[in-house]
């Protein structure tokens, strides 16, 4: 394929990923705003009834305030995630804690997984450091999660991370899944290579992403 065409296709995939994450997070924020809006409306309804002589129950008001506070906190957390995600595009490459990156990728993917009735579970070894593109790694993990979720009827998909054989290793597998491994596109293999990593898959092991540990340099391939 022509290099310019390939770059354009990669940029298009990156844009689609960024758009999907923004759509998912903004949808969640709107859900919080809807709950806050309805509780404000309920306060208005109760105030209206109070002007007509009905007493306002303090306990009811306390519960309304609690729900509003809860959803303000939830929306705030979602905006933090959106901000964190936006800054993942600040630099082409930097040192990353693999466990933190995976946990963040799982948070970003959570709603998409829920839509299909799936749940991602993590088991990450701490202190495994890699040096790669933050946005690219999140995009790759999103793509791998999508493939894993689409390729299994299991409710749970496990994401594990560890340092093994001088590499940083991410394994994604539905434990009860049998038979053919999830279908991975060529673009995901290419993205893994562009991050200095290597992607493997098998029916027994699921999906494995190997990345060089920080400071070791070179490619795992």
């Amino acid at each position: 394929m022509d290099v310019t065409v390939a770059d354009s296709a990669n940029q298009q995939r990156e844009r689609q990923f960024v758009a999907a994450v923004c759509a998912s997070l903004s949808h969640e924020i709107k859900n919080c705003l809807a709950i806050i809006n309805e509780n404000a409306g309920l306060m208005g309804d109760l105030a209206m009834l109070a002007t007509q002589g009905r007493s306002m129950d303090p306990e009811r008001q306390r519960r309304i305030a609690q729900v509003v506070k809860k959803n303000v906190r939830r929306a705030d957390q979602l905006v933090r995630h959106l901000n964190h995600f936006a800054h993942s595009g600040d630099v082409a490459s930097r040192e990353l804690d693999l466990a933190d990156t995976i946990r963040f990728a799982v948070i970003l993917f959570e709603r998409t997984a829920q839509k299909t009735g799936r749940r991602l579970k993590t088991a990450c070894g701490e202190g495994v450091m890699v040096e790669t593109g933050p946005l690219g790694l999140l995009q790759l993990l999103w793509g791998l999660f999508s493939a894993a979720v689409a390729g299994t009827a299991d409710e749970e998909v496990w994401v594990e991370a560890r340092a093994a054989a001088g590499l940083a290793q991410v394994c994604i597998k539905a434990p009860d899944s049998e038979g053919t491994p999830p279908l991975l596109s060529d673009a995901l293999f290419e993205l893994a290579r562009s991050l200095g990593g290597e992607l493997k898959q098998s029916a027994a092991e699921g999906i494995t992403l190997n990345l060089p540990l920080k400071g070791t340099g070179g490619s795992p391939a």
């Binding site: 759509a23 903004s26 949808h27 969640e28 924020i29 709107k30 859900n31 705003l33 809807a34 709950i35 806050i36 809006n37 309805e38 509780n39 409306g41 309920l42 309804d45 309304i64 729900v67 809860k70 959803n71 829920q114 839509k115 299909t116 009735g117």
Partner: protein, 120 residues
Amino acid sequence: MMNARVLLVDDEPDFLEVMAERMEARGVTVIPATSAEEALQRIATERFDAVVMDFMMPGVDGLDTLRKLKEDRPELMIILLSGYATIEKSVEAIKLGALDFMEKPADIDKLIAKIKAAKA
């Protein structure tokens, strides 16, 4: 009081509870459901003047649920709520028979007016 009987479907309990209370205060009898599956079970055995349903709930595709609801009960008036939906999805939903598509946070008085119009 309009005495409409509405099935309200949303996976967010906090939203469901307060929305039901506000709709009830406006003369609507609200039957809450927290999943598309529960909604489908309800409409198989009960009569409703309208269904107000979140378009994007875990484990289901909103369009698929809409299709199933209309297959089972073609006469059912369905109003969809969503945090956000593309124009394409909205158009598809209307083509499949949804009465309307409202964006969250929705104006409850507009929602009630639509339910009233559906019942008329």
